[in-house]
Structure formats: structure tokens, C-alpha cells
């Protein structure tokens, strides 16, 4: 018996399906091939991944896992030398007694993205390798300048809403609390106190020199903030 003719709907669905299978296979397995073929596949896959919002990036917790738990904090400074530090909602007050819920998760993801360089540094290693820290922090500030300013400004407005009589701070410093995961065989197993290190500073109203960004990074060698050039 002759096969019934496929309808336009069936053909369209089949074409979409075959394309999706091709996309899934190439987007996930292109890493196994090399050369110009990979470049071509990457370009096509990238376009579809963005248009359909189906980014095939599945490398969670790999290749290695940081031994640092990092939390953003914002230090507000006033010209008279006074300062106040505001912690992230995601940072537990007592590391030995807490239950985390998912409510602050989205903002915590955002904060984590800004302070990522501290996955690789502590207060001690920053001082030991200041050049490496400034290079990494500068790269993060270059790629995240607008989100960093948005975050510091958002925290500043939240702070002023809670404290309406306080004058606006002149400096907003993005700090990071770095908790180093103890080795598994430490007895008694306990958390050392976290490092509290500066990462970047934004001074509302202060215009950066020509060719520099508005956000400065902390230079452990100079023990001060330095401007970052727009281009590396």
C-alpha cells in the first residue's frame, strides 16, 4: 500500500525536530572535533542557542571546584572617615547554625558573578601576588563595570531608604568575605575567620580620567584603589 503523503505540518515538524537534534549533538559534542569544522559548527550553534535561548553549557562544578566560599559586602564611606558595612542577604550570620533557603538565590548569583576573582585569592595570596590579583580584578571590572555600579548603587539606595536621615556616602566599596573551606581532616573541623578584602570602589559623581573606567580596583601592593583602563 502506498504511504500516505506527509502534510506540510508533518514536514515542518520533522524539519524542526531534525534541526534540534543536529543542534543538540553538535553544540554538546563539538568540543570533540577540531579545526575549521568546529568553528563553523560553533557559529551556527551559537546563533540558534541565542535565538532560542538554549545555551548548551553543562560544565557545573568542573573542571575543579574552588575551596573558597565568597560573599559580597558593601562598605559605605563618608568624607569624615566614618564607614558602615552591609552584608549580602546570602551570607549566614553563624556558619555553624543555619538553614539556607532559595529566596536570595538570584541576587546571590548576581553578586557571585561580580566577585568571582576571589575564588582564586585570599588576603594573604593577594599580597603575595599583587600583580596577578590586579590583573584578574581589572579584567572582571572591565567586563562587569555596569553591573558593579548597578549593584553598589542599588545597595546604596536600599541603605538610604532604611536610614533616611543619613547623608549619602561618598564612596561605595565592593568587598568580599572569603571563607576558606578547611581540609576534611582538620580536627576539630572548624571555620577559620573569613578574610574581608576590598575588590573595587565606585565614587558617585567622581569622573574617571580619560580612557579609564569609573570603577577602581584594589591594588594590594599600593594598599589603595587604582583606576582601570577601558582597554587592557
Amino acid at each position: 500500500m502506498p504511504e500516505p503523503r506527509a502534510s506540510v505540518r508533518q514536514i515542518l515538524l520533522g524539519a524542526v525536530l531534525l534541526w534540534q537534534v543536529f543542534f543538540l549533538l553538535t553544540a554538546n559534542l563539538a568540543t570533540l572535533v577540531d579545526g575549521p569544522l568546529r568553528g563553523g559548527l560553533d557559529a551556527v550553534d551559537h546563533l540558534w542557542a541565542e535565538a532560542a535561548c538554549q545555551h548548551q553549557v553543562w560544565g557545573q562544578y568542573s573542571p575543579n571546584i574552588t575551596r573558597h566560599a565568597i560573599f559580597a559586602a558593601v562598605e559605605f564611606r563618608w568624607p569624615d572617615g566614618s564607614s558602615v558595612e552591609v552584608r549580602s542577604d546570602a551570607e549566614e550570620r553563624d556558619p555553624f547554625d543555619y538553614v539556607q533557603d532559595a529566596t536570595p538565590y538570584r541576587v546571590a548569583l548576581y553578586e557571585g558573578d561580580l566577585i568571582r576573582p576571589l575564588w582564586d585569592f585570599t588576603a594573604e595570596t593577594m599580597k603575595a601576588r599583587p600583580g596577578a590579583f590586579v590583573a584578574e580584578a581589572s579584567e572582571r571590572v572591565r567586563s562587569r563595570q555596569k553591573p558593579i555600579v548597578a549593584y553598589l548603587d542599588w545597595q546604596r539606595r536600599r541603605f538610604l531608604e532604611r536610614h533616611p536621615r543619613v547623608t549619602p556616602p561618598s564612596e561605595c566599596v565592593l568587598r568580599v568575605h572569603v571563607w576558606v573551606v578547611p581540609p576534611h581532616d582538620r580536627r576539630p573541623w572548624t571555620w577559620p575567620p573569613p578574610d574581608d578584602v576590598p575588590l573595587a570602589r565606585w565614587r558617585p559623581g567622581v569622573v574617571a580620567p580619560q580612557g579609564d573606567l569609573d570603577v577602581e580596583v584594589w591594588d594590594p601592593a599600593k594598599e589603595d584603589f587604582v583606576f582601570v583602563t577601558e582597554k587592557p
Binding site: 548548551q56 575543579n64 555553624f96 532559595a102 576534611h184 573541623w189
Partner: protein, 304 residues
């Protein structure tokens, strides 16, 4: 038994039973319910309380803050690219939650999935830093549900059409879910094979799970209160690594299929309880839902 939905045209070489023989509609329905409920939870817990923080004027997101995620730099798009009002974004969150609820109930199933998908896709490029792999699984599953007969069973749609629960649907939607699942795991496994300066990486050494469960960023409870000795974390590290890298093989071999799925589902249930990873474990568990033989439960219920 009636078949609901369009059977796609496939080249003759691909017309193998696994790709063309209809499957019980309740499996797709179970996926729809799971996705609808997970999205509802995700929206109500992680978005609604922070919608004004994440989107709109004075927030952490928007095209001005993430211009590199906007056209013409990228092929991304957003229905809300020109929305600025924080109140409008709050309203969008409630429409989103309603779409998720209707999807779970099977009211205008495909349309509900399409609305939920369009909102999810539109919000992502406006604040990419607040999103993660769980959102990708959500978007992929919604795109499958909106194009497949996801309301064929266990739905208001089926009840209104006076359709019995033993209808069948073309298998392509569930096969796509399985392919995506296999690639998520295999790709994850590949990324875990690392040697740096002649030294094996965390996964090969067995250190990885300890580093995650002891980390304050991710542990739901303090590590000392978790009943997991170090050797158990080592064992779990190698089990996860072998499970992920070998997933396509575990699925192809009939004898290993069910045990491997139990291992995977247990792993994600463990993550759900002990780790704070947003709704990621719940989204991953959604991938397992259509693999459960729901039709047996349905036929057992009819018999009793």
C-alpha cells in the same frame, strides 16, 4: 487506542520504532505537571520577592546594564526590552506564575507553555547574571511542551474534550527530553576529566563532593551537621563522575538503565535536600518524570 498530536515526517532510515511508535500520553502529561509546578515554585520563591530588585528602573538588570546581551550584538530577544516600570515587571511575574499554574492543570496547555516560555526567554537577557543552568533546562522543557500535545491527558483540556487517559502521543517530545538529558550528563562528565601539571583534577582525585558540601555558598546546612563522612564524599564523587560520563551507555544497555536512573534521581534528591542550588535539582528531576511508567499506575487505578 487513539493517538493525539502530529507525527513528524522523518526520513525512512529514521523511522525506527523508538522514534515513531506512539507512547502513553500520561508520560508527557506527567512532564507537563512537573514542569508547571516547578516553574510555579521557582517564580514564587526566587523571582516574586525580588522582581523589583532584578528588573526595571533602578534595578540590577536591564539593557543598559547588560548591553552585550542585547541585539544587534547577539541574536537574543526580549518582549520586555522596552519595559522600564518596576510595577510592570511585578505584574509580569504574576502572569508568569499564572501560566505555570495553568500549565500544571492543563488549561490551554500548549498556550500556557508558550506564554511561560516567552516570559522566561524574555527575562533572561535583561539580567543574565541572575540566571543559571536550571533556567536553561526550564526553557528547553517549556519549548518541548508548547510544541507537543502536552495536554492530551491528565488535563483540563482532555477533560473538556472527553478524552480518556489511555490515549497515546507521538514519541518525539519524550525522545528529545531523553537526548537532552544524555547530553547534559555526558557533557558534564567530559568537563570533569582534567589534569593540570600532571596532577588529576578534583573529580578524578575524589575531592569534588567534599569541596561542594563543605562550601558555605552551596551547603544548605553546616557541613559538621551533615551525616556524610569524607570517604562517603569520595565515593559519591567517583559515582557521580562515572554516572555522568557513562550515562549514554547506561541508557543503551537495558540492564543498567533502571539502576542508573535510580542513582541519578537519588543524587538530585540528595542535592535538593542538602544543597542550596536554587531550583536546579528540581529542574533536573523533571527530566526523570516521563521515564516513570505512569500508564501502569493509571491502568492499576482503573482496575481497582
Amino acid at each position: 487506542m487513539s493517538v493525539v498530536g502530529t507525527q513528524p515526517w522523518l526520513p525512512s532510515r529514521l523511522r525506527v520504532p523508538w522514534l515513531v511508535d506512539p507512547v502513553p500520553a500520561v508520560r508527557l502529561a506527567a512532564l507537563r505537571v512537573a514542569v508547571g509546578l516547578t516553574l510555579l515554585g521557582d517564580v514564587l520563591v526566587t523571582y516574586v520577592p525580588h522582581m523589583r530588585d532584578l528588573y526595571g528602573r533602578g534595578s540590577l538588570g536591564g539593557r543598559a546594564i547588560f548591553p552585550e546581551w542585547s541585539p544587534p550584538a547577539r541574536a537574543t530577544w526580549s518582549l520586555f526590552a522596552h519595559v522600564d516600570s518596576p510595577g510592570a515587571f511585578q505584574a509580569i511575574a504574576w502572569v508568569w506564575a499564572l501560566a505555570a499554574l495553568l500549565l500544571a492543570l492543563g488549561v490551554a496547555s500548549q498556550l500556557s507553555a508558550a506564554v511561560a516560555w516567552a516570559i522566561t526567554v524574555s527575562l533572561l537577557p535583561l539580567n543574565p547574571a541572575a540566571h543559571y543552568a536550571g533556567d536553561m533546562i526550564c526553557i528547553i522543557l517549556l519549548s518541548i511542551l508548547m510544541t507537543s500535545p502536552s495536554g492530551a491527558a491528565w488535563s483540563f483540556d482532555a477533560w473538556r474534550a472527553k478524552r480518556s487517559a489511555d490515549v497515546q502521543v507521538p514519541p518525539w517530545a519524550l525522545r528529545l527530553v531523553m537526548l537532552q538529558m544524555a547530553l547534559v550528563y555526558f557533557s558534564n562528565g567530559l568537563h570533569k576529566i582534567t589534569f593540570e601539571h600532571g596532577r588529576a583534577g578534583d573529580w578524578l582525585r575524589g575531592d569534588a563532593v567534599y569541596a561542594v558540601v563543605a562550601n558555605l555558598n552551596w551547603a544548605r546546612f553546616p557541613y559538621p551537621s551533615q551525616p556524610m563522612p569524607y570517604f562517603a564524599t569520595e565515593l559519591l564523587t567517583w559515582t557521580v563522575f562515572a554516572f555522568e560520563l557513562g550515562f549514554p551507555i547506561w541508557m543503551l544497555v537495558k540492564k543498567t538503565r533502571v539502576p542508573a536512573l535510580f542513582v541519578g534521581a537519588s543524587f538530585h534528591l540528595g542535592l535538593l535536600v542538602f544543597m542550596q542550588l536554587g531550583f536546579f535539582p528540581a529542574w533536573m528531576l523533571c527530566l526523570y518524570v516521563p521515564l516513570v511508567p505512569w500508564e501502569r499506575a493509571a491502568s492499576w487505578r482503573r482496575k481497582t
